[in-house]
C-alpha cells in the first residue's frame, strides 16, 4: 500500500494564528488576528504604535491568554502546550530584558542555567554567544555601560541560548542609532540562516523591507495586508517614472509629449529639472519614455522607475500615517537615489 504523505501543517508553518481575539476593556488589541509564517523565514509584522503587535507576540509566546481564536507555535498549541511552546521559542521583548548590574556573561550564564544548562555548559554557551555577537571584550562589564546596540545584541543572544525554533523580536531596533540598527539587522539575518524562524515586529517600513521574506501589515488588531515586500508595493500601482532633463528650458514640452505617450498627466519640477509620470499597475512605460525623448532630441540626465515605498503602501492601507513615518522618512532625494539604483530598468 502506498504511503500517503500528507505534509503536516507544522512542517511547513512554524507559526499559525487564526482569529485571535484579545480585548482590554473596549480596546480590541487583537481583533481576528491571522498569521502564517513559513518555517525558516523572516516574517515582518508591520504596524503603527497601538496596532496590536506586542499583544500578538505576547499571545504567541504564551505570556497572555487570548479571549478567542487559536494558534500553534512550532506545531504546538499555545493554549494546551504552553510549556512545550516556551521550550522552543526565544523572546526579545520591546524592553531589553537584561540585568543592568550584572555583566554580559553573567546575564547569559544566568539565563542559560535557567534554561536547564549545568553551570559549565552555561558558561561555555555564554562564551560562544558573546563571541558570535562580538561582545567578548565587554563580557565582564556591567550591562548598564553597554551601548544601545550592544544591549540589543546581548538581549538577542540571551534568547538564543537554546537555539529556538521560533524567535520573536518585538521592535528590536526601536531607539537605536543607525549603527546599532545595522548590528541588529546583521544578527537577525545570521539567525535566520541558521534555520530559526523569525517573527519581527516593526514600525519601520524600511526595516521590514530590508529583513522580511514576507510582511503582514497590521492595524487595529488585525492583519490588513500580507505578502512579499514586492507584492505589497505592487498593490499600490505601477509607481512613477522620473525623468531628469539636461535642458531645463524644455521641461513643459517634454511633459506634454511624455504625458501623451503614456496617457497620464506629467508633473514638472523646475528646480530639479524633473518630469514625473504616474505609471499604471503592471506596466512600466520606460520604453515609450525613451522613444519619446529620442524622437524629440531631448537628453535625459537620469531616468528612474520608482516603485511605491512601503510608506505609501501603508498610508493607502491604513488611512493613517504610521507614527514612525514623519520622523524616519528620509529626504526625498536620498530616497529616490536608493530606489532608482534598485529599480532602474535599462531600456
Amino acid at each position: 500500500m502506498p504511503t500517503v504523505h500528507s505534509p503536516h501543517q507544522s512542517l511547513t508553518y512554524s507559526l499559525i494564528a487564526s482569529g485571535l481575539q484579545k480585548s482590554y476593556g473596549d480596546t480590541h488589541a487583537l481583533d481576528g488576528f491571522d498569521l502564517r509564517v513559513a518555517a525558516g523565514s523572516i516574517h515582518g509584522l508591520l504596524g503603527p504604535n497601538g496596532a496590536g503587535k506586542s499583544t500578538a507576540v505576547s499571545a504567541l509566546c504564551t505570556l497572555i491568554d487570548v479571549d478567542d481564536g487559536s494558534a500553534t507555535v512550532a506545531g504546538l498549541d499555545i493554549r494546551s502546550s504552553g510549556k512545550q511552546v516556551r521550550e522552543r521559542i526565544g523572546l526579545v521583548g520591546q524592553a531589553a530584558a537584561l540585568d543592568d548590574i550584572l555583566g554580559g556573561r553573567q546575564n547569559l550564564v544566568m539565563f542559560g542555567r535557567l534554561f536547564g544548562l549545568r553551570s559549565s555548559a552555561a558558561r561555555a554557551r555564554a562564551d560562544e554567544l558573546l563571541h558570535q555577537f562580538g561582545l567578548t571584550d565587554a563580557a565582564e562589564r556591567p550591562v548598564s555601560t553597554y551601548s544601545g546596540g550592544m544591549r540589543r545584541r546581548l538581549d538577542i543572544a540571551a534568547s538564543l541560548i537554546r537555539t529556538p525554533a521560533v524567535l520573536f523580536l518585538d521592535e528590536p531596533t526601536t531607539g537605536l542609532d543607525p549603527r546599532g540598527r545595522n548590528e541588529v539587522w546583521r544578527a537577525v539575518r545570521q539567525i535566520a540562516e541558521s534555520g530559526t524562524t523569525v517573527l519581527l515586529t516593526t514600525q519601520h517600513l524600511d526595516e521590514a523591507d530590508q529583513l522580511a521574506d514576507r510582511i503582514s501589515v497590521m492595524n487595529h488588531g488585525r492583519v490588513i495586508a500580507e505578502g512579499t515586500p514586492k507584492q505589497l508595493k505592487r498593490r499600490l500601482g505601477g509607481g512613477r517614472i522620473e525623468v531628469m532633463l539636461e535642458d531645463g528650458t524644455r521641461l513643459t514640452e517634454a511633459a506634454r509629449l511624455l504625458g501623451e505617450a503614456l496617457g497620464t498627466t506629467a508633473v514638472v519640477d523646475d528646480y530639479s529639472r524633473t518630469v514625473t509620470l504616474e505609471v499604471p499597475p503592471g506596466g512600466t512605460g520606460l520604453m515609450s519614455v525613451v522613444r519619446v525623448l529620442d524622437g524629440a532630441a531631448l537628453t535625459a540626465d537620469d531616468i528612474a522607475l520608482r516603485r511605491p515605498t512601503l510608506d505609501e503602501v501603508f498610508l493607502a492601507l491604513t488611512d493613517m500615517p504610521p507614527a514612525a513615518s514623519v520622523a524616519d522618512s528620509s529626504p526625498d532625494s536620498a530616497d529616490r537615489t536608493a530606489e532608482s539604483a534598485d529599480n532602474k530598468e535599462t531600456p
Partner: protein
C-alpha cells in the same frame, strides 16, 4: 554555533527549587557587583538607630522603667523588617519594567521560581540587615538577657514578619507597577512604622492613637522580641501584651494568608 542537539543531553529537568536558587543568586551577585546600595541601606538603619538612641532617646521615657536603648533595639529590628517591603516591591517593579519578568515567563521554568527566587534573595538580605543592627545595637549598649532559645525564637519571629511582608511587597509590585506606586509605598511605610510601639510606648499616646499603635501588627513582633530578648516592653500589661509571642506568630500568618493568594492571583493576572 551549538545546535539544539548538542545542548539537549546536558539539560536538566525543570526544577522549581533549582530555578529559584539561580534567581536568588542573581541578587546575591548584585551585592558583590554593586555593594553601594545594600551598604547605604545598612548605614541608613544604623543612622536611624543612632538618631533614635541618642538624639531622641534621652527625651523618651519607657513606661515601667528600663533602658531606652534596650527598648529601642527590638523596635529597630522590626522596622528593618518593615522597610524590607520597599525593596521587595521595588525589585518586582524594576524587573517588570525592564522586561526581565517577561523573559522569565517566556522561558520553560516553573512560574513559582520567579517569586520564590525573590523571597530567597530578600530573606537573605534581611538576615544580613538584622545581623548588622544586632552588632550596632550591642556596640551602643543593648543588653540581651534572654535565654538562647528565646533569642533564637525572637529572630525567627522577626524573619517570620519579614516573610509575611514579602507577599505584601510582591503583591504591590505586581499589582501597581508604576514608579509612582513605589514612591508612595516608600512614604507610607513611615506612618505605619511610627504608628506602632517601635519607638514610643503606646501608653504615652492619646487613647485612640495608642490603640492603633497597639494593634499595629508590627507592634506585636516588637513586643514579642522585647520579651524574648529580656528587654523592657514599655507595656503595662493587657491582652495583647500578655500574648505577645502568640500575636507575633498570628499576625504574620494572617498577612501571609491574605497576601500570598493575592500575589498568586496578581501573578496569574499578568496573563489577562
Amino acid at each position: 554555533m551549538t545546535t539544539t542537539q548538542d545542548v539537549e543531553p546536558e539539560l536538566r529537568r525543570s526544577n522549581a527549587l533549582r530555578e529559584s536558587w539561580i534567581i536568588t543568586q542573581r541578587d546575591l551577585l548584585h551585592w558583590v557587583r554593586q555593594p553601594a546600595g545594600p551598604i547605604f541601606n545598612l548605614l541608613f538603619s544604623i543612622m536611624l538607630l543612632l538618631m533614635f538612641g541618642f538624639l531622641f532617646g534621652g527625651a523618651i521615657e519607657v513606661p515601667g522603667g528600663g533602658d531606652y536603648i534596650s527598648f529601642l533595639l527590638p523596635g529597630m529590628l522590626t522596622l528593618a523588617m518593615l522597610f524590607g517591603l520597599e525593596s521587595t516591591m521595588l525589585a518586582m517593579t524594576t524587573d517588570a519594567a525592564k522586561g526581565i519578568t517577561n523573559r522569565f515567563r517566556s522561558m520553560p521554568i516553573s512560574s513559582s521560581a520567579i517569586v520564590l527566587g525573590r523571597s530567597g534573595a530578600d530573606m537573605a538580605s534581611s538576615v544580613l540587615g538584622l545581623a548588622v543592627l544586632f552588632g550596632g545595637g550591642l556596640l551602643i549598649g543593648w543588653q540581651i538577657s534572654g535565654e538562647v532559645g528565646a533569642v533564637v525564637l525572637a529572630v525567627f519571629l522577626l524573619l517570620w514578619l519579614r516573610f509575611a511582608l514579602l507577599w505584601v511587597g510582591i503583591f504591590l509590585g505586581l499589582r501597581f507597577r508604576g514608579a509612582g506606586a513605589t514612591a508612595a509605598i516608600q512614604v507610607l511605610v513611615w506612618p505605619v512604622g511610627f504608628l506602632s510601639n517601635l519607638f514610643v510606648a503606646p501608653e504615652t499616646m492619646p487613647g485612640w492613637l495608642g490603640a492603633v499603635a497597639e494593634w499595629n501588627p508590627i507592634s506585636a513582633t516588637a513586643t514579642a522580641a522585647r520579651e524574648l530578648f529580656g528587654n523592657p516592653t514599655g507595656s503595662m500589661g493587657g491582652i495583647l501584651a500578655d500574648n505577645a509571642v502568640l500575636m507575633a506568630a498570628l499576625w504574620p500568618l494572617v498577612i501571609t494568608l491574605v497576601f500570598l493568594p493575592l500575589s498568586a492571583r496578581a501573578y496569574r493576572k499578568l496573563r489577562a
